[in-house]
């Protein structure tokens, strides 16, 4: 197991290097740079630009910037924000907990609804409940979360003078208010995940429920509850867990929009602000941190197969 984890961790390095290459190069291909943003609404002279560029330490060829960045990243130095001059890691860690909290809650909501409903749908195949759940899942997959979030923010305010909590409160200031603020945004992110999990679980369950060992279990006279939960669900979960791992990246991208609508100061808002301000070190830092997070999540998913099915040997 340890050897497997080490091998997988080492195999992440080329992925991270390629990710960094993409981010560094693509960012610099964007029209306009941080100097343009800093000098917007002001027709600056060449000297003004030059002074700012020197102050910010930009203007090197892309290849040099890439090598410098990789060298720094290897020692844990992701640079400093062009705007605040704060270390990028400090800036990111100020925001990452918000995004992680939102994602975790959405994962909990999505998993706790998606998997049981998928099982139920499979067990009740071709009944009204099955049709209803499948229809709802299609609806949940079809409605974009930004639309849902905007509707939940604007409609109750317009018609009932009520809006969900829109102002972020730090956990240290008021834990309950802090938690309340996350509930609705997480509920807005969860439906897509829930519907995907539900459909995958249903499909896998239907397959498993027709397996010989399930028929054997039933023939032994085991109650249906045990047949489903002890013999079927666990065996149906491997693709579901894979899907869950893949959905971490989807949730992360959804969080960007939802955070902005609900005023959550997470990575999403930081990313958008940094993109508008062309704060390359922060954008690169976010890409590195989220990229590594997604890769590690998938590593954990792979490692979990062994626990779900002992026949699987990791290596």
């Amino acid at each position: 197991m340890l050897a497997f984890l080490l091998r997988r961790l080492l195999s992440l390095i080329p992925s991270i290097l390629i990710l960094l290459l993409f981010v560094v190069v693509l960012l610099r291909l964007l029209p306009g740079d941080v100097v343009d943003v800093m000098l917007k609404d002001f027709r600056a002279s060449d000297l003004d630009r030059q002074v700012l560029e020197e102050r910010l330490g930009i203007g090197d060829p892309i290849a040099v910037e890439y090598v410098d960045y990789v060298r720094g990243a290897a020692t844990g130095d992701l640079g400093r924000s062009f705007w605040t001059q704060e270390p990028v890691l400090t800036v990111i860690f100020d925001h990452v907990s918000v995004t992680m909290e939102l994602m975790l809650l959405a994962l909990v909501f999505g998993t706790l609804t998606g998997i049981p409903l998928g099982v139920l749908s499979a067990v009740k195949q071709d009944t009204i409940a099955d049709y209803a759940l499948r229809s709802v899942s299609v609806l949940a997959l079809s409605v974009p979360n930004f639309l849902l979030a905007t509707a939940i923010v604007t409609l109750p305010a317009a018609y009932f003078g009520w809006s969900p909590p829109l102002f972020y409160t730090r956990f240290s200031d008021d834990p309950w208010a802090h938690f309340q603020h996350f509930l609705i945004p997480a509920a807005m992110l969860a439906p897509f995940l829930s519907a995907s999990l539900m459909r995958m679980t249903r499909s896998m369950m239907l397959e498993v429920l027709n397996e010989d060992y399930v028929r054997t279990a039933r023939a032994k006279g085991l109650p249906e509850r045990l047949v489903v939960y002890r013999h079927s669900v666990k065996n149906a979960l491997i693709p579901v867990v894979t899907l869950l791992g893949l959905h971490v990246a989807v949730l992360l991208s959804g969080a960007v929009v939802v955070e902005i609508i609900f005023g959550l100061p997470g990575l999403g808002k930081l990313l958008i602000d940094s993109l508008v301000q062309r704060d390359y070190p922060v954008i690169q830092g976010i890409a590195v941190v989220t990229g590594i997070f997604v890769m590690l999540t998938n590593l954990i998913v792979d490692a979990s197969y062994r626990f779900l099915d002992p026949r699987i040997r990791l290596g």
């Binding site: 964007l30 029209p31 306009g32 740079d33 941080v34 343009d36 943003v37 800093m38 000098l39 917007k40 609404d41 002001f42 027709r43 600056a44 000297l47 003004d48 002074v51 700012l52 102050r55 924000s81 705007w83 605040t84 001059q85 704060e86 905007t150 923010v153 604007t154 109750p156 305010a157 317009a158 018609y159 003078g161 009520w162 809006s163 829109l166 102002f167 972020y168 409160t169 730090r170 955070e259 902005i260 609508i261 609900f262 005023g263 100061p265 808002k269 958008i272 602000d273 508008v276 301000q277 062309r278 704060d279």
Partner: protein
């Protein structure tokens, strides 16, 4: 132009003091009565010059004295206003990014050297109490407001604001220390050095100019204690800012929440002699999304919202019919359609003029602003020295009643320029966040309706791209929400002079440059007004920029906030900063 002459004559011949303004305001009994009925005394004039004696030092952020007690019959003062902002900044260096400390809440802890009367646009003292222009204008001497002191917080601990503070701030704003701190340098036009003479501040002018005075009243020109400037900590950690303003900074959690409490020793009093501000505290919250801002106001979570867009305004008033609506002609808020005059076809003034004559301004603006805008010539319609909006609206192109003749002339001009069928091709650059995309599409449609052969593209870009391309002159035309300055000569200089800092279209006209130079350097009121008027007329002939309109800025207020109607006028600061600036001026009905 009589009113403008009298304004500058007053400006030039009188030594303006706050004491004189107080005397004047006390005489305005009827005005006071009107203000009193809404429970908020006007601070016009800044109060008396006697010190606001409060025993002992105050704990930072604490309100050691009770809220002012209103005169009999007035609603009680005090309470907390909850405001919001979208702006989250990283760089708080006021000299490099002056927008950051002037808004986002911090504005209510700070003062500017001078200010404009919000209702009359008249220049008056703030931290600088009065001024005297010496001799030929090569020196301007200022007295410091004797009542102004910094908040009782380290490292200044309630010491008096002095001339050294002022000199350092002005020197930095003029870009004399760091070449990257040039954002407001043009406001300091003609300044050579700022130094201290006795207790006074002296500006030594290399080019005598009256514009520097208006520049000192610009709302972004916030003044900071020299200890804070020298330490530079506040430039990255805004919680380290210490000001002299109406509110004391209690907490600044950037992007989350900022809390400010009443400065019980603020130098400013209302015209009834009552201590300002009325509010006990102001709480700023950050919201990033316009839909969330609207929802927060509709649900009563915030007390203020800006309602630029007509559609949003209608929706808010439907959801909250009790919303108090205010509006005022905002000198700093205007939309323009700027041509790149260095490139064909807009290098030809006939083409620019033809397009102006062909436009229906109401069609372009009304769908966004409704009726909340004013026709503008070369200057913001709110400026006292501008050709009045009522006159502009009667001129060819702007006047809806003469549109048929205007169209005929537009076709003729286009034909004279070599495009009988209007067959020019150009793009209009816009960014999506300013509602200018809708205006550009309307312009496109109007022009194609008149000249079907005209090829007009609307090009949507991002803000960094816009900035980069404007700087490089890589555009045909642009429709944008453009910044303006509260001084006519400076605004002309930046927008139209050769190499001007906002002259993105590279317009160059030596005769106009000379007129703008005259308007900047004239130190007699008549000469300045005459040069400005001539410059405006020249610009209206040449039209390097079409000003689509000056915004009559609509704002919504929770009904518990009283008195704002009396405090908003053309001299108010523009945009969201209003809510911050005026937080020292309104009260809450408890």
């Amino acid at each position: 132009m009589e009113p403008e002459q009298s304004y500058w004559q007053r400006f030039w011949t009188k030594k303006v003091t706050r004491r004189r303004l107080v005397t004047r305001s006390l005489m305005a009994g009827a005005g006071l009565a009107a203000v009193a009925t809404v429970g908020c005394g006007d601070d016009d004039g800044g109060g008396t010059t006697t010190a606001t004696a409060t025993a002992g030092a105050t704990t930072p952020g604490a309100t050691s004295t009770p809220s002012p007690t209103p005169a009999t019959g007035l609603p009680p003062f005090g309470g907390e206003a909850v405001l919001h902002t979208q702006f989250q900044f990283g760089d708080f260096n006021p000299f490099r990014s002056p927008f950051a400390p002037s808004i986002g809440g911090l504005g209510c802890t700070l003062d500017t050297p001078l200010e404009f009367g919000p209702l009359d646009f008249e220049l008056r003292g703030r931290l600088l109490d009065s001024w005297e222009i010496v001799g030929d204008g090569s020196e301007i001497l200022f007295d410091i407001n004797p009542d102004a002191k910094w908040h009782n917080q380290a490292p200044v601990n309630a010491r008096a604001v002095d001339a050294e503070d002022m000199a350092l701030n002005i020197t930095r704003y003029a870009g004399k220390v760091d070449p990257s701190e040039v954002r407001l340098a043009s406001n300091m036009f003609g300044l050579d050095t700022a130094d201290v003479v006795g207790d006074q501040l002296r500006l030594n002018m290399s080019t005598p100019s009256l514009s520097v005075l208006n520049g000192l009243a610009y709302y972004q020109m916030t003044v900071h204690p020299r200890e804070v400037i020298e330490a530079e900590e506040a430039f990255t950690d805004p919680s380290k800012f210490v000001g002299s303003g109406a509110f004391v900074l209690d907490k600044y959690d950037n992007g989350v929440e900022a809390i400010f409490s009443r400065n019980p020793e603020y130098w400013r009093k209302d015209s009834l002699g009552q201590q300002l501000p009325y509010l006990d505290s102001v709480r700023f919250k950050w919201l990033s999304d316009p839909a969330a801002e609207k929802a927060a106001f509709e649900s009563g979570d915030v007390d203020y919202i800006q309602m630029l867009d007509q559609l949003v305004r209608d929706e808010i008033l439907t959801a909250r019919p009790d919303t108090q609506v205010t509006s005022y002609l905002a000198w700093g808020s205007a939309f323009n359609f700027r041509f790149n005059t260095a490139k064909a076809p807009f290098s030809d003034a006939r083409v620019r003029k033809a397009i102006h004559l062909a436009l229906d301004y109401e069609d372009v603006i009304n769908p966004i602003l409704g009726s909340n805008w004013a026709y503008s010539g070369a200057l913001s319609a709110a400026l006292p020295e501008a050709i009045p909006s009522s006159e502009i609206s009667q001129m060819p192109g702007w006047n809806p009643a003469t549109k048929a003749q205007d169209l005929e002339q537009a076709r003729s001009l286009m034909s004279d320029a070599g495009f009988p069928d209007g067959g020019i091709s150009f793009s209009i650059m816009v960014i999506t966040t300013q509602q200018t995309d809708e205006m550009a599409v309307t312009i496109q449609s109007l022009l194609k309706g008149i000249w079907p052969a005209m090829d007009v593209n609307v090009e949507v870009v991002e803000v960094a791209d816009l900035s980069s391309r404007l700087g490089a002159g890589d555009f045909d035309s642009v429709v944008q929400f453009a910044p303006r300055l509260p001084d006519a000569a400076l605004d002309l200089f930046n927008n139209y002079s050769t190499g001007g800092s906002l002259n993105w279209g590279a317009y160059s006209n030596s005769a106009l440059d000379a007129l703008i130079d005259d308007s900047l350097t004239a130190i007699d009121a008549d000469g300045r007004s005459s040069a400005i008027l001539q410059a405006e007329e020249t610009i209206l002939e040449e039209l390097p920029v079409i000003w689509l309109g000056t915004v009559d800025l609509a704002q919504g207020w929770d009904p518990k906030i009283v008195g704002v109607q009396q405090l908003l006028g053309p001299g108010s600061t523009s945009s969201i900063a209003d809510s911050h600036y005026h937080s020292s001026r309104y009260g809450i009905e408890a």
